[in-house]
Structures are given as structure tokens and as C-alpha cells.
């Protein structure tokens, strides 16, 4: 690739108060190249692409687009120059239709009817079927991503930026996405692909740039570099793989018998006839694409949503009609996905947050009076045991980084000696080394005889720690199967396959 690079970045820097997000970053992308941008959370990947897309202005450094200076003052200018971006958190409007959403992302949107026609044409060409008049709020995650991709494709971009595109897709959907991306790359569109999933990058990308703490720490050719080497470049140290001891499960702790619950909101998912048993010392991994009943299942188990008699039995007692506090007292604990606002109260200190779920089991409020000394010791214990990086337990939960708060939230439940622990997305947005330590803590807990239900969208994680695996699809739970020896295809089918998507006709 000796021609003029499509995009060439030199010495890009961007600092926020207290953090240097990007420090002297340089990289270069050729037309038609699929270039991976790798790094932990907080490594500065998002800031870098936001500068290319005109959402953030660099403090220093230059960008060249086909040899000409390129400094988009706003996304509109970047789009005009041929840069398209598919966001990590979808930038879609739930209440609007597919065509309206796409029109909003275009400079000179044609009339709705003409636009609908264009959408059909592009979606046929790239094997991404999509009905222009559907309301986005009713679409699955994979379909929403298609909306974003088609929105970009209609502008005929020279460079397509994809920020963590596969985190919400089933393996089959990922395969279809990759086919689309390869076809685009074959047509000369360069792709800047952000991810921390190394296998995907090895399968798809021509080149990779690795970022750590805002600096470029290396370039490599993914196909020739092992996933482990890339991971260690990302983290900057050797990785520990969680160790699991072989064990035989004990007595049944939790029985769900035909658990059903109506959808809590317009865009929620009802639970449909879920039956499963979880035993002592066993980890049941539950996979599935986000929005297929994960949050609802956690709510039904934590006691936030009550269930009719006979559906939820814990250690021989019917707990369906008990709220969260009585369930916690009995040893049935849970840690929800949303850290700020659900698992933790953002503005309250770590001590107060430790108290909020720990009071019942750790006896931190005897006779209704808070024992602050004990609460603080409990918070301190979590911080020390789980290596939470914070100046002290008096700090507000909001001040912690996502990974540190996640360690705190999980640690808080683990240290309450649960008999059953339900966690949703335990390592979401957590860097690789912290994720490894959280997984190790969960394995240790199971070793000690606790029954665990781990709900996650990270299949690698589930395969690593679960004894049995089941998948949620449309609020139904598949039959659990032994995790060892499950193939990716089988898992994908359990998750509902490709949700009716077609393979690109390349």
C-alpha cells in the first residue's frame, strides 16, 4: 500500500481536566484498509475517533485527508468529507421511524418516499434487510445497528468508523456484519474498527494500532499476532487466566418453575415460562442479546418484581412474594447491570452504598440505627479485598471509574457470603485485568458452595466460568447445557440464530 493514505494523523493530542485522553497519537489508513483500533476502556479510542468525526477538537496535531489538511469543525463537515460513523451507544431516536432516523443523519435528505426506496436498495445490496417505516424502538439491537450502517452507507463514505459494533450481536449476526464490511472494503471504503475483542480483529482487520492510556504503544498485523500478545500490549502486563477447580454441584438452591412476568415497560420484554434449577457450587451462565429479558430476569430474582406463588423457590421456601430485603436476609443476593443508578447511588459515598445492600446481612443497622463504624469497616474491607482504586470509603460512587465501581459493586455482594448470587454483566466496561479478577472472585465463591447465576453478553466470559450455559431469547430461557464442548454455532442457535437476517450476497 504505497499510495497516498486516505487518512493520516500526526501527533494528535487532547487533554481534559485531569486526564490526557490522547497523547501524540499518529496513524495512517489506506483506502480499502480495515484498520483496528485496540485498547482498554479509557485508552482514548473514543476520543480519537470523535476528533476524526469532528465532535471533539484536538489540542495539537494535524490530520490529512488524501494529503489535504482536514480539521472538521463539526460532524456535518466530517460527513461531507466522506467520514461516516456507527456509534457504540446507538445514536438513534426510539420514537421515530427508520426512514426518519436516517434522514436526520443526512445533509440533503431526499423526500421520504425517495429515501425509503434508497434504503431498500442499499439494504438489498449489502444483505441488511430493513423496513423503512418501522419504528426504531421496536427493532432488535442487530436491526438498530443496520439502521446506523445504512445511514452511513447512503452517504457513500470513504472512511467508515465503527465503535464496538459487535457487542450487541449474536455470533451469526457478527458473521453477516463482517461479510458486509469485507464487501465494503473490497469496494475501496476504508474502515476504522474499534474493539477489544481480539478474535474478531484477527479475523477481519488488515492492520491494528494499539492504544494504552492515550498513547500509541504499538502497531501490528492482527493475522500474524496472537490474541494473547495483543492483549498484553493493551494491558501492558501479563494476563492471568482465571483458574477453576473441578467440582461436583451440591443440593438444589434455587428452583424456577414456569416463571413468567409481564413486560415492565413499553420497550421491555416479558418473561415467558422460565424453568431451571441451580445447585450449590454451580455457575449457570445465561447468554443472549441485550433486551431479551436479562434485566427482567434479574428483577424477578432480586425481588424488585414479585412473582406469583410457586414460581420462585429458594432453599425450599417460596420467595416469589418476598421483596428484596427479606430475600437478602435469606442469602439471595444480586448485582444488577447498571452501575450508576441501579447497583449504586451515584452521589452517595461508598460507605453509604455498602450500607444500602449490606445492612440486612452484615447487621449494619441494628434496631434501625445505623452503625456507621461497622458500615465503614465493611466498605473498607471491600476496597481492600477487591483492589478498588479510590482515596477512601468517603468518596462518592460517581467519582470511581466504571471498572473500579464494578469491582466495588460485585465485591459488596461477594463479601456478604451469599447462598445464591445473581449478577448481570459483571465485567461490562471493565478492563481485562479487573475483569479477570472479578471472574476469579466469582469462581472462588462457587468453590465455597455458593450457587451463581451469571447473566452476560460476553460469550467468552460465560464459556470461561460457567458450568452450564443457557440463553435468553424473547424472554424464554433455553434448556441449560453443559458449557464445556459447546460450539459457537450451537450457542448462536440457542440465542435465537440470526433473527431472520440474510447473508450478504457477495
Amino acid at each position: 500500500m504505497t499510495q497516498t493514505p486516505l487518512l493520516h494523523l500526526t501527533g494528535l493530542s487532547k487533554a481534559y481536566p485531569g486526564v490526557v485522553a490522547n497523547d501524540d497519537v499518529s496513524l495512517s489508513i489506506a483506502p480499502g484498509e480495515v484498520h483496528a483500533l485496540l485498547g482498554e476502556n479509557g485508552a482514548g479510542k473514543s476520543t480519537l475517533v470523535k476528533m476524526i468525526y469532528g465532535l471533539v477538537k484536538p489540542d495539537a496535531g494535524t490530520m490529512l485527508m488524501r494529503g489535504a489538511p482536514f480539521a472538521p469543525p463539526e460532524p456535518r463537515a466530517a460527513r461531507a468529507a466522506g467520514v461516516g460513523m456507527v456509534f457504540q451507544h446507538f445514536s438513534l431516536f426510539d420514537a421515530l421511524s427508520v426512514a426518519e432516523n436516517i434522514a436526520l443523519g443526512m445533509e440533503n435528505a431526499p423526500k421520504m418516499r425517495a429515501l425509503s426506496q434508497q434504503i431498500r436498495e442499499v439494504s438489498d445490496t449489502y444483505g441488511l434487510p430493513l423496513a423503512p417505516d418501522r419504528v426504531v424502538g421496536d427493532l432488535s439491537a442487530g436491526e438498530r445497528q443496520r439502521v446506523e450502517i445504512i445511514r452511513c452507507l447512503l452517504q457513500e463514505p470513504k472512511l467508515l468508523i465503527m465503535d464496538e459494533p459487535t457487542s450487541v450481536l449474536t455470533p451469526q449476526e457478527v458473521e453477516i456484519l463482517f461479510k458486509t464490511l469485507r464487501k465494503l472494503s473490497g469496494e475501496g471504503t476504508a474502515i476504522l474498527y474499534i474493539s477489544h475483542k481480539l478474535d474478531e480483529i484477527r479475523a477481519l482487520c488488515d492492520a491494528a494500532t494499539i492504544l494504552r492510556l492515550g498513547k500509541v504503544v504499538g502497531h501490528c498485523t492482527p493475522a500474524e499476532t496472537s490474541a494473547r500478545d495483543m492483549a498484553e500490549m493493551m494491558v501492558g502486563s501479563a494476563l492471568k487466566t482465571p483458574i477453576r477447580a473441578g467440582k461436583t454441584p451440591g443440593d438444589v438452591v434455587l428452583t424456577l418453575a414456569g416463571l413468567s412476568a409481564p413486560s415492565p415497560s413499553a420497550f421491555g420484554m416479558p418473561l415467558r415460562d422460565i424453568s431451571v434449577e441451580v445447585r450449590r457450587g454451580e455457575i449457570l451462565g445465561i447468554g443472549g442479546v441485550a433486551g431479551n429479558g436479562q434485566d427482567e430476569l434479574l428483577s424477578a430474582l432480586s425481588g424488585e418484581v414479585l412473582s406469583p406463588v410457586g414460581m420462585v423457590t429458594f432453599e425450599g421456601r417460596d420467595v416469589g412474594q418476598l421483596g428484596p430485603t427479606p430475600r437478602r436476609k435469606m442469602g439471595m443476593l444480586s448485582a444488577p447491570e447498571e452501575r450508576l443508578g441501579h447497583a449504586a447511588a451515584p452521589e452517595m459515598s461508598l460507605t453509604e452504598n455498602a450500607l444500602l445492600t449490606g445492612a440486612a446481612r452484615e447487621n449494619l443497622d441494628p434496631r434501625g440505627v445505623i452503625n456507621w463504624g461497622a458500615a465503614q469497616r465493611f466498605a473498607q474491607k471491600i476496597i481492600e479485598r477487591f483492589d478498588v482504586r479510590t482515596p477512601g470509603p468517603h468518596n462518592a460512587a460517581r467519582s470511581l471509574s466504571g471498572g473500579n465501581l464494578q469491582k466495588f459493586v460485585i465485591g459488596r455482594e461477594v463479601l456478604q457470603r451469599p447462598d445464591l448470587l445473581v449478577v448481570n454483566q459483571p465485567t461490562w466496561g471493565v478492563d481485562a485485568s479487573a475483569a479477570a479478577s472479578i471472574r476469579q472472585a466469582l469462581l472462588d465463591l462457587a468453590e465455597g458452595g455458593t450457587a451463581l447465576i451469571v447473566i452476560s453478553q460476553d460469550l467468552d466470559e460465560l464459556m470461561e466460568i460457567s458450568d452450564r450455559f443457557a440463553a435468553l431469547n424473547e424472554g424464554r430461557l433455553s434448556e441449560p447445557r453443559a458449557a464445556q464442548g459447546l460450539s459457537v454455532e450451537e450457542i448462536g442457535l440457542m440465542m435465537g440464530g440470526a433473527h431472520g437476517m440474510e447473508v450478504a450476497h457477495v
Binding site: L55, R76, F87, S91, F93, D94, A95, L104
Partner: protein, 306 residues
């Protein structure tokens, strides 16, 4: 009691007039809320419009200039709200309530010398032979231009929101300000313009009370119409035509209870006076089953932090 004293033609013509202030205030607030901002200061902006319009009409002798001044007055007051909520990121509920209290106080101060004066009369539009048609003529074709403007405004708002790109962008900002920002739309600017539009509409609605419906100036004469407008927007599920229906319902019952009072019905006046508020709310609550219609970002503070 003599119900035959109620003239159905005058009654219908009267309720169209009674509904007009509400239509203006509510359609303005609908646009504001569609942009994702909750401005509880409608009552304050209406009363400022009422006094600005009244004073200008009295001083210049032109009711039309009065309405223009009312729109400017309402929009200026709403700029204060826009500054508080969009620039300093103050809480929208508190800022809106403060705006109402401020508007009520300021209007009382401005209006001290205007109590007891009669404003110049607004001429009705001359429809010629159309007004001669029996029944329909006196009901539909004997009104002032502002009343028709209100109807046109409802239709225009509906069409703009549904069919134009400007309307789409406005709805998008109200639906998800973060996504709109990511696409490069100027959230604060769009919301400020929507807030000013809402202020101007509320001002005209207020002036309609002081210049045409009553017509005189008394302190606090908007008498809660601004609050009804707020409720109307919610219960009309942010739909312009349903909003018009609700406004007519309110206007109709207001007019009916006045006529009943005049006819000497044996119901205490207090019950009759509260009936338009109660019935309008109850009917709209029953109508508004689809709760998901609210703009998703309504009332949330936007800050382009990253």
C-alpha cells in the same frame, strides 16, 4: 331557571372565543415540550402578554400592535427561562414555577395605571355574504383575525411537525438530545427557539383575554388558563388536533356554565365555576391512554460534556 334563555348560536360563537387563549398557550407549549423542554411558566408568560398587549393597544389605539407587543413580551420573558435552563442548566421545574410567579408580579406592577380602562375594540373580519348564512354565518364568520390565526397555527404546527425536516429535527431533539448532538444538531439553539415560540404564543393567548374576551385589565386575570394549557398538552398526548378538541371542550363548558349561571340554575356558582377544569381534565385523562407519546428527553437537562 330558564334554559331557553341560552341562545345556541351565541353559545357556540362564545365558546370559540373562550377556547382561543387556551389554544394559543397550549400549542406554544406543545412545541416547547416536543423539543424536550418543560416550561411551567405558561401562566406567567400569558399574564405578561395580557398586560403588554393591553398597554400597547391602549397607548397606540391599535389592537393588532397590542398583539404584536404581547408576542414580544411573552418571548422576552421566555428568554429568561431559556437562559436559566439552557445556559446555566438550572432545574426546569423550579425555573418554570419561578417564571410564573415573576410574571404575575411584574404584570401587576406594569398594569397599575391601566385598571378600569377600556381597550380599543378589535374589528371582526368582514366575510361579506358568508356572514349572512343562517346559523353557520354567525357561528363561523363573525370573529376577529386572531381567532382564525389560532386555528391556522394548530394546523401549521401539525403539518410542520409531521411533514417538514424542521419538525423532524425538533422532534429528534426532544426524543434524544444526546443522539441529536452526536449528529451535529445544535440542541441548545433549537430548544431556545422553541421556548421563544412558546413564549410568543402564550403572550398572544394572554392578550386575547385582556383585549377581546374580557376586555379590560385586572390583576391575575389569566386565572389558571396557563395551567390548564400545560395539562392539555400532556393529556392531548402531544397531538395538535386532540389539543384543539380539548381546548374546545374547555371553552364549551366554560361558556355553558356562564350561561347556566345567567339562567339561574340551582347549582352553587362555585361548582359551576370549577366544572370546566374538572371535566376537561377527566375527559383528557380518559382519552390519553398511550403514555409512550411523551418526548423521551422531556425535562432532562442537556449538557454537551463530551
Amino acid at each position: 331557571m330558564d334554559l331557553s334563555a341560552i341562545n345556541p348560536i351565541l353559545f357556540i360563537a362564545g365558546f370559540l372565543i373562550a377556547a382561543t387563549p387556551l389554544i394559543f398557550a397550549a400549542i406554544g407549549e406543545l412545541v416547547v415540550e416536543k423539543s424536550g423542554t418543560l416550561n411551567l411558566g405558561v401562566e406567567g408568560m400569558m399574564i405578561i402578554g395580557a398586560i403588554c398587549g393591553f398597554a400597547t393597544a391602549v397607548e397606540t389605539g391599535s389592537p393588532l400592535l397590542g398583539f404584536a407587543a404581547a408576542a414580544v413580551g411573552g418571548a422576552l420573558l421566555s428568554l429568561l427561562f431559556a437562559f436559566l435552563t439552557q445556559i446555566t442548566l438550572a432545574n426546569q421545574v423550579a425555573s418554570g414555577l419561578a417564571l410564573t410567579l415573576f410574571g404575575l408580579g411584574l404584570s401587576a406592577l406594569l398594569g397599575q395605571t391601566y385598571v378600569g380602562i377600556k381597550p380599543p375594540r378589535m374589528a371582526d373580519i368582514n366575510f361579506g355574504p358568508l356572514a349572512e348564512i343562517p346559523v353557520i354565518g354567525p357561528i363561523l364568520f363573525t370573529h376577529d383575525i386572531i381567532l382564525y390565526l389560532g386555528l391556522i397555527l394548530v394546523a401549521a404546527t401539525w403539518a410542520v411537525l409531521k411533514f417538514t425536516r424542521a419538525g423532524l429535527i425538533l422532534r429528534a431533539v426532544g426524543e434524544s438530545h444526546d443522539a441529536a448532538h452526536a449528529l451535529g444538531y445544535k440542541v441548545v439553539r433549537i430548544r431556545t427557539l422553541a421556548i421563544m415560540f412558546g413564549g410568543a404564543c402564550a403572550g398572544i393567548g394572554g392578550a386575547y383575554i385582556s383585549l377581546i374576551r374580557v376586555p379590560q385589565w385586572t390583576e391575575g386575570m389569566t386565572a389558571g388558563i396557563g395551567w390548564i394549557a400545560l395539562a392539555l398538552v400532556v393529556f392531548a398526548s402531544w397531538k395538535p388536533w386532540r389539543l384543539l378538541l380539548g381546548a374546545y371542550l374547555f371553552g364549551g363548558i366554560t361558556q355553558l356554565q356562564l350561561n347556566l349561571q345567567g339562567a339561574g340554575v340551582a347549582i352553587p356558582v362555585e361548582y359551576l365555576a370549577m366544572s370546566p377544569y374538572v371535566i376537561t381534565i377527566v375527559v383528557l385523562v380518559i382519552l390519553s391512554r398511550d403514555k409512550s407519546a411523551a418526548p423521551a428527553s422531556l425535562g432532562r437537562t442537556f449538557h454537551a460534556s463530551n
